[in-house]
């Protein structure tokens, strides 16, 4: 029997709304919480996607009263919200916001947090359900998790759920990520752990699954018989900002390659899931991640770089080693490019070129499938000089959409074929009100939908790819590239070695 007569599967107008619950944010005064989480909560409230009984509990070291905290969160939400500001919505939400002050090693503070949560159960009717968002450095995880275990806050029971949200980086290599996973899993059960990779919350990434599995057009050519190679690029024009101490220890490979790029690779290369459900999609992604092979000739096919001073977008920018807080002799990479293989029947022999970097000419993320050349061209050789490989490009950001590049005749009396592109644009104009990645992911956590969250086995499989690279790079100096260039020369040579070249995104 339908537990709620008003729910009708045919009724697609009614939004998915979570059960009554609380969202507890550790590190509520941090950058991420202010710029992403609080605005996302406001946007959810504004769209009517929060449950009728909801509470937001902030926990941080700073000594703040409820009013100061309310003022700060109001400013944060107002400044960064994507939906129009409505004071009345905020006022209703503000009544549900509480602040608890304390340090993470303070038993009293956690006892108070547990007590406050208990009170909210009565006063806000949250029914004992809570999601804990760890918006704190990973080094603090053990302390906070142990406190949660001690106070019994982490236990899901038959009549309440408790979930935890963890941000990347999920460890810094395979052993440390295993340790972290073991720790989190010892406190929360595996299905209650949500690891946020905000890239997976983007519309285009989800659209990739629609593009592949809802159409008949692409799947037949989505394999090594037709695809020559795949290029996945995530470029940023910014430097490291104020994150020197974090970045010095991490580097581009751990920061981006291990999570975003490998997840994009997995979604591109995975087999069709049995159904569109969290478990089935994760199963297929995991199979791909486990099938990834690293290059034997790492000297040529695993390149890292570091930016030097240069000019970018009309401004002179510092080199990495001159950035504030960076060791002047630092050997941390700000660029990484690698050739990976996927050892499956579908992909054997197709190279996957992945690259990411900071201070590259523009901010862009895309997945490009380069198709094989036609086996025979009936035209004269001079007619097709300008014809390249056919390409299918999924543009993740900006200008979200899909591009198809193919040859076409140049108008005129002679036969000449050159490349043209056909664009499908999700265009900025059209996506103004599509939800922000954090908003979508936060809602999914509260709903308990894990489709867009990598599970621990995926994280570990990803580290298993990165570890040999890091091992090879240890003790070497990264190749230098000027800020404002598409990476070091060695990255160009890496593709040139196989008669290919990077697509300029």
């Amino acid at each position: 029997m339908n537990p709620n007569p008003l729910r009708d599967p045919r009724d697609r107008r009614l939004p998915r709304v979570p059960q009554p619950c609380a969202l507890v944010v550790f590190g509520i005064t941090g950058d991420l919480a202010r710029k992403k989480l609080l605005p996302a909560v406001y946007d959810l409230a504004n769209r009517g996607l929060l449950p009728t009984n909801f509470a937001l509990l902030g926990f941080a070291r700073r000594d703040w009263g409820d009013t100061e905290f309310a003022e700060l969160s109001r400013e944060a939400a107002r400044q960064h919200a994507r939906t129009p500001w409505r004071e009345e919505v905020w006022e209703q939400l503000a009544a549900d916001i509480t602040f608890v002050q304390g340090s993470f090693d303070d038993d009293n503070a956690f006892d108070q947090l547990a007590a406050t949560l208990g009170e909210l159960e009565g006063s806000h009717g949250i029914g004992g359900n809570a999601a804990f968002y760890l918006s704190i450095p990973p080094s603090m995880f053990p302390t906070v998790l142990k406190q949660m275990q001690r106070t019994g806050m982490a236990e899901s029971t038959a009549d309440r759920w408790r979930r935890v949200v963890v941000e990347k980086p999920f460890g810094e290599d395979l052993p440390s990520s295993r340790e972290l996973n073991a720790l989190v899993d010892s406190v929360f059960s595996a299905e209650d752990v949500f690891r946020i990779d905000h890239y997976l919350g983007k519309e285009t990434v989800q659209n990739l699954l629609a593009l592949r599995f809802a159409n008949t057009l692409f799947e037949p050519i989505w394999n090594g018989h037709h695809v020559d190679s795949v290029q996945i690029t995530m470029a940023e024009d910014v430097g490291i900002g104020g994150r020197a101490s974090f970045y010095e220890k991490t580097g581009a490979a751990r920061d981006v390659l291990q999570n975003h790029l490998l997840q994009l690779l997995a979604l591109t290369a995975m087999e069709e899931p049995v159904e569109f459900s969290a478990e089935e999609i994760r199963t297929e992604k995991l199979k791909v991640l486990r099938a990834i092979s690293v290059p034997e000739d790492m000297e040529t096919f695993a390149i890292r770089g570091q930016y030097e001073q240069g000019w970018l977008a009309g401004e002179r920018v510092k080199g990495y080693q001159q950035e504030e807080g960076v060791d002047p002799k630092s050997a941390t990479e700000t660029f990484a490019a690698v050739r990976l293989g996927v050892e499956t029947r579908r992909w054997a022999g197709v190279p996957f070129y992945l690259r990411t970097g900071k201070r590259l000419p523009r901010r862009v993320t895309e997945i490009a499938l380069m198709f094989k050349r036609a086996p025979h061209l009936p035209f004269a050789e001079t007619d097709t000089e300008e014809l390249g490989n056919n390409q299918l490009v999924v543009r993740v950001q900006p200008d979200e959409g899909v591009t198809l590049k193919f040859g076409s005749k140049v108008p005129g009396s002679v036969m000449e074929v050159r490349d043209v592109s056909m664009d499908f644009l999700y265009g900025e104009q059209f996506t103004e009100s599509s939800p922000e990645a954090y908003e979508r992911l936060l809602l999914d956590v509260l709903l308990g939908d894990a489709t867009l969250f990598p599970r621990n086995a995926e994280v570990e499989a990803s580290w298993a790819v990165i570890d040999p690279l890091e091992e090879f790079w240890a003790g070497t100096t990264p190749h230098a590239y000027r800020a404002g260039e598409w990476g070091p020369r060695a990255a160009e040579e890496m593709l040139a070695a196989e008669d290919r070249r990077w697509r300029r995104p």
């Binding site: 007569p5 008003l6 409230a45 909801f54 009565g122 009717g125 029914g127 644009l425």
Partner: protein
């Protein structure tokens, strides 16, 4: 923007193609064609709403404004806009004079985006039988708005009598926010109990003459299998015509939702403190954009309409309409009186 005075349909098609060529990439990815039938007095409202909706759903906008059916010579004026006042996409605003208004489809058909769904929206009084307007016949989805009729309840009955799958009404769209809150309130009751909820009775308080309040009551009664009446409220309710909803549940429980008139609603339910949620009034563009989200027949709407009007078997009707010729000038013979009536008909209401 180009304005074509006293022009022809093919000139409009040519001009649109010319602007597309020079317009650039903003034009790609058109998902549907939205045909807006508006009265002159409501054109600017309709333009604003359609522009808003087009931001969410890339579409080609075609406005049809019929004027002065009795004018002796037919005439077409058209504005072709790309990336201008009507948003980033393609839009054509057409004013049709004289008998051309009865053959609007001859101008509209060649302008439809190739093989994309067509949605027709009347921001005007729609014909009693939609089949008498050829624009309704080729539209895959037809949107009316009973709340702008002089007698909204009679309009709702007319819509029920004429219903075919694919019809929808903005009076129904206005109930979505209420329905969402009601459904999630019952979620929280069933979540707490851990067992199903049964609604034994219910009532909607508000404006009994408001079609949204009627449809909401109709929906509740069709979902819960018990009669739900609309009772006169104590204050003047907002656009939705609903002030509060009370549902009586099994186990002697009651859920009550009350609009606080400040863009919110208060939910009262057993064992839980009162909770406030957002319930803002929505602008027309927002409602329209919700309609464009899905283009298949809306069964919950036909159930609600059935239950609100007492007309049965709506969902079993054929989704296809066949054009029925209707000439307002021939309605009562051929006298000059009828011509005046025709003018009044196409004029304001």
């Amino acid at each position: 923007m180009t304005t074509l005075w006293d022009t022809t349909g093919s000139a409009v098609v040519k001009e649109l193609a010319a602007q597309r060529r020079t317009g650039g990439a903003v034009l790609s990815g058109v998902a549907l064609t939205l045909v807006v039938v508006a009265d002159e007095s409501r054109v600017s409202d309709a333009e604003e709403a359609a522009t808003h909706a087009a931001e969410m759903h890339p579409c080609r906008l075609l406005f049809v404004v019929r004027r002065q059916i009795e004018a002796p010579a037919p005439r077409l004026d058209a504005e072709v806009l790309i990336g201008g006042r009507l948003g980033p996409g393609e839009a054509v605003v057409m004013r049709m004079y004289g008998r051309l208004g009865l053959h609007a489809e001859s101008v509209v058909l060649p302008l439809l985006a190739a093989d994309a769904p067509v949605v027709a929206w009347w921001h005007a009084a729609p014909p009693d039988r939609l089949a008498t307007d050829a624009l309704a016949v080729f539209a895959d989805r037809r949107i009316t708005d009973s709340s702008i009729a002089d007698d909204p309840l009679a309009a709702l009955k007319t819509r029920a009598a004429d219903y075919a799958p694919g019809d929808t009404d903005l009076a129904w769209t206005r109930s979505t926010a209420w329905r969402a809150i009601l459904a999630s309130s019952l979620d929280s009751v069933s979540g707490r109990r851990g067992e199903p909820v049964v609604v034994t009775a219910g009532r909607v308080e508000g404006d009994p003459a408001n079609p949204t309040a009627r449809l909401l009551a109709g929906w509740l009664s069709s979902r819960c299998g018990c009669p739900v009446a609309v009772e006169e409220g104590t204050r003047k309710p907002g656009e939705s015509g609903v002030e509060s909803v009370v549902l009586t549940l099994d186990q002697k429980e009651e859920v009550r939702i009350h609009a606080d008139r400040k863009g919110g609603a208060v939910i009262s339910q057993p064992y839980r403190p009162d909770a406030a949620v957002a319930l803002p009034e929505r602008v027309l563009g927002d409602l329209l954009s919700e309609e464009l989200r899905r283009l298949d027949p809306d069964e919950p709407y036909s159930d609600a309409l059935e239950s609100a009007t007492g007309v049965s078997d709506l969902a079993d009707r054929s989704p296809m309409r066949e054009h029925v010729w209707f000439d307002p000038a021939e309605e009562n013979g051929n006298g000059s009186r009828t011509k005046k009536r025709a003018a009044a008909k196409t004029g304001d209401s």
